[in-house]
């Protein structure tokens, strides 16, 4: 039988790690967006291609949009 306290601590650690990974992805995309803006042509298309994944990462992992489909906490 698993210990609920240990399970909760592991779940907490897992979520914190996931948050850090998503954050790293967001930072990379944001910096990439800046670099592309300095170098590329057709910047508007690139900006859209880089901004949408950032918004999606935040909506899915930080805002838990999937909860709307009935998923619990």
């Amino acid at each position: 039988v698993s210990d609920p306290t240990v399970d909760q601590a592991a779940s907490h650690r897992g979520k914190i790690t996931l948050g850090a990974v998503v954050f790293a992805g967001l930072i990379c995309l944001d910096v990439l967006e800046y670099i592309v803006a300095q170098t590329a042509q057709q910047v508007l298309v690139w900006m859209a291609l880089l901004a949408v994944p950032q918004a999606a990462l935040i909506a899915v992992f930080y805002m838990h949009v999937r909860q709307l489909r009935g998923g619990d906490r």
């Binding site: 601590a9 948050g19 954050f23 901004a51 805002m63 709307l68």
Partner: protein, 191 residues
């Protein structure tokens, strides 16, 4: 038996209330998204991909990174509240507020330069001050809401059993971040 049924009823009611709250917040966020989308569309309609060279792109990137970092601390604050970690909740909420204030400082700097370079009665000034001003107002209300949950929850009022106020405020804060993810390239990077 009757007590058991009542308890079950209360659990169902609490879950229903939580889902209703979430749906209401998401509808609010959707309506706010339309508002931001309308102003971003107006910017492109009026100016195409023109942008002012007076805006500091490095400063824009810096405040973007600050706001993204505040999303991480807000996420950690919510996760801490959900796992009965009061200290983590207080620490991360305070960090989020601090980062939000730093972001507002950066926006104030941009406003000061913007007022000289492209006054609000010019086309670019209208787009810039409408969009950044509206966003800054949302950041400000988010900061007030964060301060309120920090004050109420500082002694452990929010825990795994019920942390909806924290969840709601943090979701709103993330929305403010999502809005900026589109505003930053729209005003600072597009050419």
């Amino acid at each position: 038996m009757a007590a058991g049924v009542r308890e079950l009823g209360q659990i169902e009611t609490a879950e229903y209330r939580l889902r209703r709250n979430r749906l209401g917040l998401w509808l609010f966020i959707a309506s706010e998204s339309f508002l931001f989308a309308a102003i971003i569309s107006a910017r492109f309609y009026l100016l195409g991909t023109q942008r002012s060279e007076d805006l500091s792109q490095p400063l824009g990137l810096l405040i973007s990174l600050v706001l993204l970092t505040s999303s991480l601390t807000a996420y950690r604050a919510e996760t801490s509240a959900a796992h009965d970690d009061v200290r983590g909740f207080v620490r991360n909420t305070a960090a989020t507020i601090t980062l939000g204030l730093v972001f507002m400082g950066g926006v104030a700097l941009e406003f000061r330069e913007g007022l000289e370079a492209f006054p609000p009665d010019t086309l670019y000034g209208t787009a810039f001050f409408s969009l950044v001003g509206l966003h800054a107002f949302h950041v400000l209300t988010g900061l007030v809401a964060l301060a309120a949950v920090l004050w109420v929850g500082r002694d452990g009022r929010f825990g795994s059993a019920d942390y909806w106020p924290v969840e709601g405020v943090v979701k709103y804060w993330h929305f403010v971040d999502v809005a900026w993810v589109f505003i930053f390239p729209t005003l600072y990077l597009v050419k």
